[in-house]
Symmetry: C2
Subunit: 150 residues, 2 copies
DNA sequence: TGCATATGGTTCGAAATCGTACTAAATAGT
DNA sequence: ACTATTTAGTACGATTTCGAACCATATGCA
């Protein structure tokens, strides 16, 4: 890396951070009081990816400590949005199942974000996104791998 | 936006979020105990952008509530990394000045992140970044503007 | 089998984040 | 000049995040 390129890379991570912050705020504007972006992410993951995962699997998927996941799942359970059941194969573990209320809340929030997403999509067309998203996925994978190495 | 493109946009924000989280963790690995990424960001901003800003200006720059900024500045001040002086023109306000200790800590951390940044740069060349970063900046500006409209 | 170790999850305490309510100083409108 | 409103910052309380220590169950190995 040429010395003079460093600012470019710093700028990259800077923009990433701000976009993350702004998009999180926009999502949270659509969530009922008491729920934040991480809670929604768990519901969304249950719908889009898979139901019945263990808390630890989820903690790894979201790159948060397991204690954080314990807490977040507690919030979702108290809201009746997920159910925690004992794991059938492992007495130490649990399974996280989304409830009907959880699924419908998730769907409603996805709906509610529609207009904002459409406005964004009008400015940044799918072609652009199809170039950028895979690159970002590569970068995410690289950083993730680098993290494991230490 | 075609209905079928929605997942692409969700994926975009998802990748952004994870990259932000991973890069924050990597930065924090280089910080002395008791300091987190937001603290460093303030020091970095003071060096790169401008010294002597008011707390409110900083809160706006980082898109955080002013109470959060009050807290963060308190931490930095207790560590002797910044000085808070009364604002010469406005009795309600203050100025945030970085100290020598603050500047040198910031420089050391930038140095320390060098290898990780170089490794990243080896995978993702400056050409790629010069395509992506301006796009991200546009997106950030768009989201920022959209936020103000409400 | 029996015991050491590893793994999944919780508890607990510290720090960060943030909304609400407040104080003090500045500005606007009369 | 005088009062009302706005603005900068802080105090406080609720929630989130996260590391350290802990408990219970599972696994590895003799």
């Amino acid at each position: 890396m040429d010395r003079s390129d460093a600012p470019l890379y710093f700028a990259f991570f800077n923009e990433i951070g701000i976009i993350g912050q702004l998009s999180r705020a926009m999502l949270e504007a659509e969530l009922p009081k008491g729920l934040l972006a991480p809670h929604f992410s768990i519901l969304n993951h249950a719908v889009r990816v898979k139901d019945g995962q263990t808390p630890l699997t989820l903690a790894n998927a979201f790159q948060v400590p397991k204690t954080t996941m314990t807490h977040s799942l507690g919030v979702l359970e108290r809201h009746g949005l997920i159910e925690l059941k004992p794991h059938p194969k492992d007495g130490r573990s649990k399974q996280v199942w989304i409830t009907e209320a959880g699924r419908s809340l998730r769907d409603r929030v996805v709906e509610a974000t529609g207009p904002a997403l459409a406005a964004f999509a009008q400015q940044f067309d799918p072609e652009t996104m199809r170039e950028i998203v895979p690159k970002l996925a590569e970068m995410r994978a690289f950083l993730d791998a680098a993290r494991d190495e230490d």
